[in-house]
């Protein structure tokens, strides 16, 4: 990783640590700080280091604010970068967001925004969501809407394009018994504007060429989720998602996990995730003639993937390393492998601190 990326990560880590120390000494009514660090490395030689901080603060009994700040420090030696940068290339992404939630009886309204900036891409998002508890809080109905204005730059040129994304979501969460809860959701997303990856190329009549994708895409996702308490302090989680879009990408995602309480301070668990998808209708391994659309984007190829995750959460009774009681340390490792030959390992370490 280049020195600039290391400096960026060190700066963000130091800033987050100062923020953490300062916040710990502040007497808030009902607040929480989550600080996490993610390290991603894959078989292409890409490394991403991502410190991330989330603050939640209740200003009153009815109004809460959540602030998020995160960084992705990316050291990339992938094929698309190595074509022009034999020694690899570095990038950095900074994302910040604010959500305000206000309660109205059994209903909650959240308004917020997020801004993400990196080399060659910016994204600005506004979102609104509502939820309402029904049936003695055994049923929660939720819905949301988000609009994003994204601006990719067609590096190495200075040309920028525009992309508009509209996203709507609805869900019902139901507690069936004292041991069983489910959630069903539907999400629709409409993206208009430039949607070609400017860095990924494919063979068109033998010449490696940047792709050309349609400028409209409608995406549907349906989800069903289960959380089930089992005997002996063990919990089952099962999530399924069905996805379809107008580029003919269909996918199924199933994840199954088990968690177990080892005493009062330790929770351990593992999960397996299986993902399958079909190719976009205009995908070909290579193109001849004069195709209208063509792509070298691996996300539009047909493939399957499997991943395994192990997770450990420690919540010492007396607090964690001098932090207040209720503080928790989370360690997680995920191994991901797809039929395209892509493999990745992702480590996450996180600290959650309740602030008085």
């Amino acid at each position: 990783m280049a020195a600039s990326s290391r400096r960026r990560v060190a700066f963000v880590g130091a800033a987050a640590a100062c923020l953490l120390i300062g916040a710990a000494g502040y007497n808030w009514a009902q607040n929480q700080l989550d600080f996490s660090f993610h390290a991603f490395q894959d078989s292409r030689g890409v490394t991403v280091l991502s410190p991330d901080a989330n603050f939640s603060k209740d200003f009153t009994d009815r109004t809460a604010v959540k602030i998020r700040f995160g960084v992705d420090a990316i050291s990339a030696a992938s094929d698309s970068c190595a074509r022009c940068h034999p020694d690899g290339a570095n990038n950095g992404r900074v994302v910040s967001g604010v959500n305000v939630t206000r309660k109205y009886g059994d209903a909650r309204l959240t308004l917020g925004g997020e801004f993400s900036r990196e080399l060659f891409y910016t994204a600005t998002t506004a979102l609104a969501s509502v939820s309402r508890d029904l049936n003695k809080s055994n049923t929660t109905v939720a819905g949301g809407f988000a609009y994003s204005f994204n601006k990719p730059q067609l590096h190495p040129s200075e040309t920028t394009e525009s992309q508009h994304s509209f996203d709507a979501y609805g869900s019902v969460t139901q507690s069936w018994t004292r041991k069983t809860v489910t959630q069903f959701g539907y999400e629709i997303n409409q993206i208009n504007g430039y949607q070609t990856n400017p860095f990924l190329r494919t063979s068109v009549n033998g010449v490696m060429t940047v792709g050309n994708s349609p400028d409209a895409r409608t995406r549907h996702a349906l989800s069903a989720r289960l959380r089930q308490a089992l005997p002996a302090d063990t919990f089952l989680d099962a999530d399924y998602r069905w996805y379809h879009d107008t580029w003919a990408v269909d996918s199924n995602t199933l994840s199954l996990g088990l968690s177990h309480h080892f005493g009062t301070s330790v929770v351990g668990g593992g999960a397996y995730r299986r993902y399958t998808q079909t190719a976009a209708y205009f995908y070909e391994p290579f193109y001849t003639g004069s195709p209208e659309y063509y792509t070298g984007d691996f996300r539009l190829f047909p493939f399957d993937s499997n991943s395994l995750t192990g997770r450990l959460e420690l919540t010492p009774k007396g607090g964690l390393m001098g932090m207040p009681a209720g503080s928790a340390l989370t360690l997680q490792y995920e191994r991901y492998k797809s039929t395209t030959g892509f493999e990745a390992g992702i480590f996450t370490g996180g600290v959650r601190i309740p602030l008085k």
Binding site: L127, A221, R227, A229, F235, T253, F298
Partner: protein, 74 residues
């Protein structure tokens, strides 16, 4: 909207509608296990990061809440 989308949407809405009828009632004093972090959807921030990088590698997205603008890696 294709027939597959319609069928899947109908099934999900039916399941969601059945949930919303409130045919099961757990009393507040019976909710101890339901409050355990293992029983809460999206209880930790780690899930958000996992979703972020999975969506950077895969052609599908969504299903569990509204999306942000994403990143250039998508």
């Amino acid at each position: 909207m294709s027939w597959k989308t319609r069928v899947a949407l109908a099934l999900t809405l039916s399941a969601a509608g059945l949930s919303a009828t409130g045919c099961a009632t757990v009393q507040p004093w019976q909710r101890g296990l339901l409050a355990d972090s293992c029983m809460v959807f999206d209880a930790n921030n780690t899930a958000a990061y996992m979703t972020h990088w999975q969506e950077a590698r895969e052609g599908s997205m969504g299903g569990f809440g509204v999306q942000g603008g994403g990143c250039g890696c998508k």
